[in-house]
Symmetry: none
Subunit: 215 residues, 4 copies
C-alpha cells in the first residue's frame, strides 16, 4: 500500500536521473520502500530523537551503507519518511449543508491522523523532527494546502447564508483543528469521532457568532 505510490504523484526518485519509461526496477524501489517503512515504525516507537540509522537498516533487513547510498543523512531519511505519507490529501466534503460538511471534515481529519500507518508518525511532525527545515516547510505547506483546499467549503456556507459575511476560512479551520491537536499533542488523549464532532460544534457556534470574520 505504500510501495507504489511513490510514482503516483509524478514525484520521482529523489535522484534526478530520468529513467522514466523502461521499467528496469532492480531491487531498488523495494529496498527503498522497506527502509522508509522501517523509518516510520522507528519514529512511531522510539521517536525522532532515538531513531537510529542502524536500527532502521536492521529493521528493513538492509545494510547501513545501503541507506546512506540513497539518503544523504538521517535528516533526509526522516524527512522523506515523514513527507511520503502526507501526499494523500483529505477529501473536502460537500454535503450541501455547512454543519454536516464541518462535521464530516473534522471526522476525516481525525481518521487521517489516526490511520494505522500514520500512527505516531504524525506526532513526529511536531516533535524534534519538526525543527528540521525541510519538515518545517512541509508542515507549513501542509496546512496552507489544507486551508486552501477547504476554503470553498466555508465560502459555500457564506454564499448559502449559513455563515456571516467576511468569515475567514483559515481562522475557522484553525478553530476546527485546535481541539484535535490539543488532544493529540498536549493531552495525549485518544482521538475519535466524538472529539471531531465536539470540535465541529464549537467551531460552528463561534462561526455563527461571527467570531471568524476578518478583522
Amino acid at each position: 500500500m505504500n510501495a507504489q505510490n511513490t510514482d503516483r504523484t509524478g514525484r520521482k526518485d529523489r535522484t534526478d536521473h530520468p529513467e522514466p519509461p523502461p521499467a528496469r526496477q532492480a531491487r531498488g524501489p523495494k529496498v527503498q520502500a522497506a527502509v522508509l517503512a522501517a523509518a516510520r515504525q522507528e519514529l512511531a516507537e522510539a521517536g525522532y530523537a532515538a531513531l537510529t540509522v542502524e536500527n532502521v537498516a536492521r529493521r528493513a533487513g538492509v545494510h547501513k551503507t545501503t541507506v546512506y547510498r540513497r539518503w544523504k543523512d538521517r535528516e533526509t531519511l526522516v524527512t522523506e519518511a515523514l513527507t511520503e505519507h502526507l501526499a494523500a490529501s483529505i477529501l473536502i466534503p460537500d454535503t450541501g449543508a455547512f454543519e454536516s460538511d464541518l462535521r464530516e471534515l473534522a471526522r476525516r481529519m481525525v481518521r487521517s491522523i489516526t490511520s494505522v500507518d500514520e500512527q505516531g508518525v504524525t506526532a513526529a511532525l511536531y516533535s524534534d523532527a519538526g525543527r528540521l527545515p525541510e519538515i518545517a516547510a512541509v508542515r507549513q505547506g501542509l496546512f496552507a494546502d489544507r486551508f486552501r483546499r477547504a476554503a470553498p467549503l466555508v465560502e459555500r456556507a457564506v454564499d448559502r447564508g449559513e455563515l456571516p459575511e467576511g468569515t475567514d476560512p483559515a481562522l475557522l479551520l484553525k478553530s476546527l483543528i485546535a481541539p484535535v491537536y490539543l488532544r493529540l499533542l498536549v493531552l495525549s488523549e485518544p482521538l475519535d469521532d466524538a472529539v471531531a464532532d465536539h470540535a465541529a460544534d464549537i467551531t460552528l457556534a463561534a462561526a455563527r457568532a461571527g467570531l471568524f470574520r476578518r478583522t
Copy 2:
C-alpha cells in the same frame, strides 16, 4: 550542640541571617542552577534531540563530570530542567464576570508560555522529550493541576447563571487552551493577547451554547 561561632576568625557560622556583603556560598547550588539554565537554553536553541551534556556543561562553565555527579544522565537533567520552571502556577483571576475572567485567564496563560525563560522550554515539553516517562507524568500533572485550580472560575459562572448548569470546567478549559497550543506547537504562529482573546471568545460562545455540558 556546640557553640556555633567558635571559629578562630570570628567568622559567622552558616546561620540564617542574610549576611549580604561577602557571603561564602557553597558553589553547589550555584553550579546546579547554572547547569539547569544552560540546559534550558540548549533545549530552546537546539531542541531535545540535539542537546548534548557536553554542550550544556560548556555553556554552564562547568565540567562534564560535574553534570553527571548530580544528574544520572541526559534524561534526568532534561527532566529537571524542564520541571523546575513549571512550579510557578498561573493565578486564577476572579473579576466577578465570567467573560473577563476567561479573557484574563487566557492572557495569563499566553504570557506564562511566552515569558522569557520559558521560551522554547515549553515547546520542549511536547517534543521528543515528552516521551520520557517523567516528563509525560509532569505534563499530565501540570494540566490536571491547572484544570483543578481553574474549575472554581467556571463554577462561579454557573452559580451566577452566566453558564448553563452542568458545564464541565475541564472541557471548557480545554477549549480555551486549544487555539493557543495549536499556534504554539502546530502552526508556529506568534502568541499574543489577540490569540488569547480569540480563544476566550470562541470558548465563551460555545459555553453559552451549552457545548461543554457533561454528557
Copy 3:
C-alpha cells in the same frame, strides 16, 4: 621485521594470491600492526601501568575506537602486543661439546632479550602486565617450551659423558638463565655476552659437580 613476516609462516593475508608489487592492502592488517607496534613502544617507554589506549592510538596514527574494534580492552591489546613477538623461538645450538653449546645458548638468549624490538617489552612480561592471566599463561608456556626444546642439548651431554647421569635439564637451564634475568629485572644492569658467558660458566661448574641431578 614485523610487517611482512606474516607470510613467513604460511599465515598470509587472508587472500591467497601473492600479488607482490603494489597490492591493494586492506588497511586492516596495516593498522593492526601499527597499533601493536605502538603498544610495544608505549610499554617500553611508559610501562604497563601508564599505558593508555588513547596514547597508543595516537602514536599509531589511528583513532581510539579503531583500537577497541579489534581489541576488547587494554588488557587484550597488551596481551597480544606482548605475545606476538614471542613466537620467534631461540634456536638450540649443537656444537658437539656441552660447554660451547651452553655458552652459545646463553648468548642467543641474551641476544633475543636485547634485540631491538623486544627492548623493554620483555621486561613488561614480568611487570604488572604479568598479572594478566593470559600473560601469565604465555610466560609459563614460554619457559616450558624453552626447557623442552633445550633438553636434548643436556641429554646429549649426558650421553657423551660430559655431565653426570640423572642431570635434570630444566634445573640446569634455570641455573643458566637466572643470572641473566637477575640483571634484567632486579639489578637493571646491561646484558651482554660477558653476562651470558658468566652464567654458562657457573652453570657448567655446578652441572659437573652434579648439582642438577634429579632428587
Copy 4:
C-alpha cells in the same frame, strides 16, 4: 638508615614500642600506619597498576583526602609503603665456615622475601612500581647495602683460604640470589629452603672454581 630517624617531630616510628611514656601522639601515626598497611595489601592483591587511592583509603577505613593530606600522590604513597618494610636488614651470618654461612644467608634472604607482610610487596618492587625514580633508587640502594654488608662474609672465607684470592663478593652474591629471584619474578615458583640451599650449592661450586674472581 631509614628506621629510626623519622622522628623529626617527635613522632615516633610506626615501630612497636608501646608508647606510654612519651605520649602526645594524635591519631596521626595510627592512621598513617593503617594506610601504609592497606597500600601494601593492595599492592599484593591487585598490583601497582591496579592500585587505587580510593581503595587503599577504604581498606584503611579512612577518607581519601586523609591520604592526600599526608602523601602528595599515589606514587609517594606507594613509594613509602614499599620502602618502609625494607628497613629490616638481613643479618649476615657468621658461622665460621663459608659453606654454612652461605647457606644460612640464602635461607635468611628467602625468609625475608617470603615473610608474611612482605608477601607480594617485594614483587611490587620489580613491577611497574619499579619505574618510579624513588623506587628505583631504593632498589639500587637496597642491593648496594646488601652487597656491602655481606662482603665481609666472603672476605672472611678468602682469608680462611676457603675461596680463591680475588673473589669478588658482589659477583658471588649476585650468583647466590639469582636463582631465588628467578623463581620469584620469572617462574612464579614457590620459595623455600631447598631453593636457598640449591642456590648456595651452585654458588659455592662456582666460587671454588674461581669464577667470581675480579677480572
